[in-house]
Symmetry: none
Subunit: 262 residues, 2 copies
DNA sequence: TCGAATTTGTGCGTATGTATC
DNA sequence: GGATACATACGCACAAATTCG
C-alpha cells in the first residue's frame, strides 16, 4: 500500500489514519483523533498532526468541523442524475423529479438580478454586442439541496428579449415558480425544442466548495446547458455538481439525428 | 468579486495574485512571486505567503516546482467531443469522425484478450454468475490519439455470447477493423438500438496519467458506455479523457422519450 | 444565559531538507 | 559550489466555532 516507504511524516500519519478507516475501526461519522490528541499520542507537533488530517480531508475521507472535530465521511456510491429522459414535464423541475424518484426531498434557494450579460454568455445566447449599459438578461443563482444538504449549484441566464413584459420575467416568481424553464417558457408561447449540454470537470473554487459544504479542492462536474426554441437560444445555465456525489446519465437511440442544427 | 471582505490574510493575498493572472499581467508560464519575495513585499510571514500560493495551486491556476518557483498555468480551451449526433455511421468510429471534423488525425492502438468478466462488468452486461473459470468476454484496451498525442483511453467489453463464432470476435480484426462497435455488430445481425452513458469525474491514477502523458493527479472525465440491442446489453466500455483537453457534448430534442427502457 | 473547555483554523517565527539553476 | 526556491517540521499565540456543564 505504501509507496516508496513514504519519506514524509505527515503522509505516514495520514496512512495510519486511513488504514484505521479502511479496516472499519473508524466508521462513518466517527470522530478522528483531534490535532492536539494526535500530537500528544504520536509525539509529533500539532502542525504536523494538522497536516495529516488535511490529507484525509482533501481525499474526501473526512470532514473537519471547526470547533468540533474531524469526522469520517466515507464516499457514498454516487447518485445517478438522469439528464436525458422526460426532459419536459408539467410537475416540477427536472431536479425535483430526479430527487423524487430517489425518495429524497428536493429544495432550493435562489437569487435573481437583471444584469448585462458578460461576453461568454452573450456568445452562448447569441446576443449582439451590448449597446451601452443596457441590462439585457436575468441572472438567477440557485443552490439546490437534497434532504437539506446542498448538492448542486446553477446559474441561469435568460435574455430579456424573450421574457420582457411577460409574467415569468423572474424565474421564481408567480404561478410557475419552481416549474422549470421549459414549462415557464411554454406558458408565454416559447416552446423549448432542443437542448445541448457540454460536460466537463474541474476543481471547485473555494467559493463553490464552501457553498456546497465540500472540502476545498473537490472535483466538480460542470454542465453548460443551452435551451433552444427553434433556432434561437432562450436560456443557458452553468451547473456544477460534486463528482463524488453524482454521475450524469445520458441516453439515446442509435443512428438518429437529435441535435438542434438538423 | 470578493465575498464578505475576506477575513483571512492568505485568501486576500491569493485574490490579489489571481487578479494579476486574470488581468493578463501574469501570463501562462510566468513565474509568480516567490514565497520569500511575497513575504518581504507584503510584510507578511513566509508561512502565510506559502498558504496563499497553495490556494492558487489547488485551484489549478498554478503549478509549484520545488527548487524553481511557482508558475502560472492557465487552463487550455478544451476541445468538444460530440457524443450524441450521428452515432452510427458507416465510415469509421465516432472518435475518428470527431477528429476528422476538427481536422486532426486520429489514431489508435489496442490489445484484445479473452477473459472472464469481473463482477462490475457482469452487472453492466447483464451476465449471470460465472460457471467455473469460463472466459466469457473479449476485453479490448484502446489508446486513442489525435495528431499522434494520446488523448483518450478506453476499455471495451463484449460478451462472447454475442460474438462467438462470428468474424468479429476480435474488435480490431478482419474487414471491419476500426469501424466502431455499431457497424461490427450490425454485420452479424445484431443492430444496436440504444446507448446509455454515465458520466463522472475523478483524479487519474498514476498509470492512466502516464499513458495519457499527463501530469500525475490530472482530472479525468469518465464515461461508462453501454450499448443495447433490444433489451440486451451487447457492449460496455470504460472511457476516460483528460478534463483539461475535452468537454463532452450531448444534445437532444425536448420532451421525447429516448432511453432504452421505453 | 453564561462561561469553561475543547477543537479547528489562521498567522507568526524558525530550522532543515532537497530540487533547480 | 553557491544562491534560490519550495516543502516539511517544529514551536507558539490567538480567533472562532462548538460542546457541555
Amino acid at each position: 500500500m505504501n509507496r516508496e516507504d513514504e519519506r514524509h511524516l505527515y503522509l505516514r500519519v495520514a496512512d495510519q489514519l486511513r488504514e484505521r478507516i479502511r479496516s472499519g475501526e473508524l466508521q462513518e461519522g466517527d470522530r478522528l483523533p483531534s490535532v492536539p490528541g494526535l500530537a500528544a499520542d504520536l509525539g509529533i507537533s500539532r502542525s504536523t498532526a494538522s497536516e495529516a488530517l488535511k490529507v484525509l480531508v482533501s481525499e474526501g475521507l473526512a470532514v473537519a468541523r471547526s470547533g468540533s472535530g474531524t469526522f469520517v465521511r466515507l464516499p457514498r456510491e454516487p447518485q445517478r442524475l438522469i439528464r436525458a429522459w422526460y426532459r419536459s414535464t408539467p410537475y416540477g423541475s427536472p431536479f425535483m423529479q430526479d430527487m423524487d424518484r430517489q425518495g429524497r426531498e428536493a429544495g432550493w434557494t435562489y437569487e435573481s438580478q437583471t444584469v448585462q450579460a458578460p461576453s461568454e454568455i452573450r456568445d452562448r445566447l447569441g446576443l449582439d454586442e451590448p449597446t451601452g449599459d443596457v441590462e439585457d438578461v436575468v441572472r438567477t443563482d440557485y443552490v439546490f439541496s437534497a434532504d437539506g444538504e446542498p448538492v448542486m449549484l446553477s446559474t441561469s441566464w435568460e435574455p430579456l428579449a424573450v421574457t420582457r413584459g411577460t409574467p415569468i420575467v423572474l424565474p421564481e416568481d408567480g404561478m410557475l415558480a419552481g416549474q422549470g424553464v421549459a414549462e415557464r417558457m411554454l406558458s408565454i408561447g416559447v416552446p423549448i425544442d432542443d437542448w445541448v449540454e457540454e460536460v466537463g470537470a474541474r476543481l471547485g473554487t473555494a467559493e463553490e466548495c464552501e457553498r456546497l459544504r465540500h472540502a476545498p479542492g473537490s472535483i466538480l462536474v460542470t454542465i453548460q446547458r443551452t435551451y433552444y426554441s427553434g433556432d434561437t437560444q432562450v436560456e443557458t445555465a452553468d451547473i456544477v455538481v460534486p463528482a463524488d456525489r453524482f454521475t450524469l446519465v445520458y441516453s439515446g437511440k442509435m443512428g438518429r439525428v437529435s441535435g438542434p442544427d438538423q
